[in-house]
């Protein structure tokens, strides 16, 4: 058994990019694996619903080329978590295609482990009927069969178990479908006999790249070292430095609770953790506790299409209009509804956003408006694209020419930055599934491909 295991995380999201020098500097030490997270739900339901990626194919290939070169040269595993962003079949396949392309260009061979995270609708319906599905928080609606049938792509976050299987099979490259972000890092530690609590906690810190350093960024490398009773973290770029507070604070990041973290089949309790600087810029962490849950539950994610959108961005500078903008918009809507009286009001929705006034916080905005211009964005959400386009065109022309009370600018109300003004957006999605599913056996399938 090794005394220490070094894990290199090049960046927070594969395809975000990272400077090459700090990454290469890591290899002055013996590195046991390169692990990178590629996924997130942060960018909204569209990536999963429309089966597209967060990063461009070009950036994915650029980052992967550097990572694979070092991984294969040093004969250490390269593990990619939540491949392609949302970690569904299309996303994993895109990543696999780029990996194959890079290997072919270099005439290199590799053993690739692919772990699928997709679930069939029927599997989820069965679980629902057996009472094995629960919402993740109180404000998430109960799941229904209808919603499941509307949701074309469903994935679940994997723990370390399937990744461990791929490591035991000596895969050079492991492409994971949707993963709990720390899992691919934890799997490497656990594979080498390290404590699961320390391995997952280190994974939680490394999965964002150098965000746990100061100044923090997702676009730079970070190095983690696991020991049997602790782990350490250090920045590789001399312009950044880890401190006990920066690392402790990162434990906080984008989680609902500061020290209780729920993962697939376990809870991490970090309340008793100690964060100490053991050498310049090297932060040691102890006492991360891994508590297995009584029941194994995994987090399901699914997105369904709910509407089509067309929108317009325009500026309003006239103070007479600014002073009564909301009233004017209401009157514009009355005219639009009257013009399209034959269309059911349930088939479309119009939303106005006032940038410069309260667009970001909406009803929760505590400050009063004191500007001289407002960026107006209005969107039409409708059951099909043609209807969204038609209603939006009518809202735009009615708003542009509307003769409101006291108007002096009788030539037009809106300053459009672009021609055409109406932007066809396409389908709009929502997270229709964000629930826990209780399972009895590892449902994630490992497939091995040699190229």
């Amino acid at each position: 058994m090794q005394n220490s295991i070094k894990i290199l995380s090049p960046c927070g999201i594969l395809g975000y990019g990272f400077p090459k020098e700090p990454f290469l500097k890591a290899f002055q030490e013996k590195i046991h694996g390169i692990v990178v997270d590629a996924g997130s739900t942060d960018a909204g339901p569209h990536k999963l619903g429309a089966n597209v990626s967060i990063v461009s194919r070009r950036a994915l290939k650029k980052d992967l080329s550097i990572i694979l070169e070092k991984g294969l040269q040093h004969r250490i595993p390269v593990i990619i978590g939540s491949s392609g962003g949302a970690g569904a079949k299309t996303h994993v396949e895109l990543t696999l295609e780029v990996v194959r392309e890079i290997l072919a260009e270099r005439s290199t061979h590799a053993k690739i482990g692919i772990i699928w995270a997709d679930f069939k609708q029927q599997t989820i319906i069965n679980a629902l009927e057996e009472g094995r599905i629960t919402p993740l928080s109180a404000n998430i609606p109960q799941l229904t069969k209808e919603k499941i049938l509307d949701t074309k792509t469903i994935v679940a976050q994997m723990g370390h178990e399937p990744i461990l299987k791929a490591l035991k099979q000596k895969c050079d490259i492991i492409l994971c479908g949707r993963s709990y972000d720390p899992s691919p890092f934890a799997a490497l530690g656990i594979y080498h006999g390290m404590d699961p609590g320390l391995s997952y906690h280190l994974g939680k810190i490394l999965e964002c790249g150098a965000l746990c350093a100061e100044p923090g960024t997702t676009k730079d490398s970070i190095l983690g070292t696991l020991y049997h009773d602790s782990f350490t973290v250090k920045a590789l770029n001399p312009i950044r430095k880890c401190t006990p507070t920066s690392v402790a604070a990162h434990t906080f990041y984008e989680k609902e609770h500061p020290f209780i973290l729920h993962g697939p089949g376990f809870t991490l309790n970090l309340e008793e953790c100690e964060f100490n600087e053991v050498a310049e810029g090297i932060i040691e962490v102890r006492n991360s506790q891994y508590l297995p849950d009584k029941e194994m539950k995994i987090k399901l994610e699914g997105a369904r299409q709910v509407a089509f959108r067309t929108f317009v961005i325009a500026g309003v500078r006239d103070p007479l209009l600014i002073s009564q903008l909301e009233e004017v918009e209401k009157e514009v809507l009355v005219q639009v509804k009257s013009y399209f009286a034959e269309i059911s009001e349930a088939d479309y929705q119009v939303n106005f956003y006032h940038y410069g006034k309260d667009a970001v916080l909406g009803e929760q905005e505590p400050s009063s408006f004191n500007g001289h211009e407002i960026g107006v964005m209005f969107e039409v959400l409708a059951k099909d694209q043609e209807l969204a386009n038609s209603i939006c065109a009518n809202v735009r022309s009615t708003f542009l020419h509307y003769g409101y009370q006291g108007r002096k600018s009788s030539a037009g109300n809106l300053a459009f930055p672009f021609a055409p003004s109406d932007i066809e957006f396409g389908p709009v999605y929502e997270f229709s599934i964000y629930h826990l599913m209780q399972i009895n056996r590892d449902p994630f399938l490992l497939e091995i491909v040699e190229v």
């Binding site: 109180a138 609902e256 964060f275 709910v306 970001v360």
Partner: protein, 102 residues
């Protein structure tokens, strides 16, 4: 009056999953952190008032001494990126908290 933004080192908001937003207030001085913690100014009641929310929509409000930080997690009325959402990453919802008077 001193505002929270003047005392905090980090004051941010971010999605904690698509259905919740988490607000982090972090300090770089233990005495300032202790002072804010002991004052009891950051409470579920204050957050409910600032954000115009019912108390039940505040899912967590926890102090974490090791990180000199306070975490507040609130329910989203509209999930990230769904029709009607205003902030897909939830990254700009912290501003009202900045003006909290200590």
């Amino acid at each position: 009056m001193v505002k929270l933004v003047e005392k905090a080192k980090i004051l941010r908001s971010k999605n904690a999953g698509p259905f919740e937003i988490t607000l982090d207030v972090l300090f770089d001085d233990k005495s300032v952190y202790e002072e804010v913690k002991n004052s009891g100014i950051i409470s579920k009641e204050t957050i409910a008032e600032i954000y115009n929310l019912p108390i039940k929509d505040i899912h967590h409000l926890v102090y974490f001494d090791q990180a000199l930080g306070i975490k507040i997690t609130i329910a989203r009325k509209i999930s990230s990126g769904s029709p009607g959402d205003r902030d897909v990453y939830g990254a700009q919802q912290h501003a009202p908290l900045m003006n909290l008077e200590l």
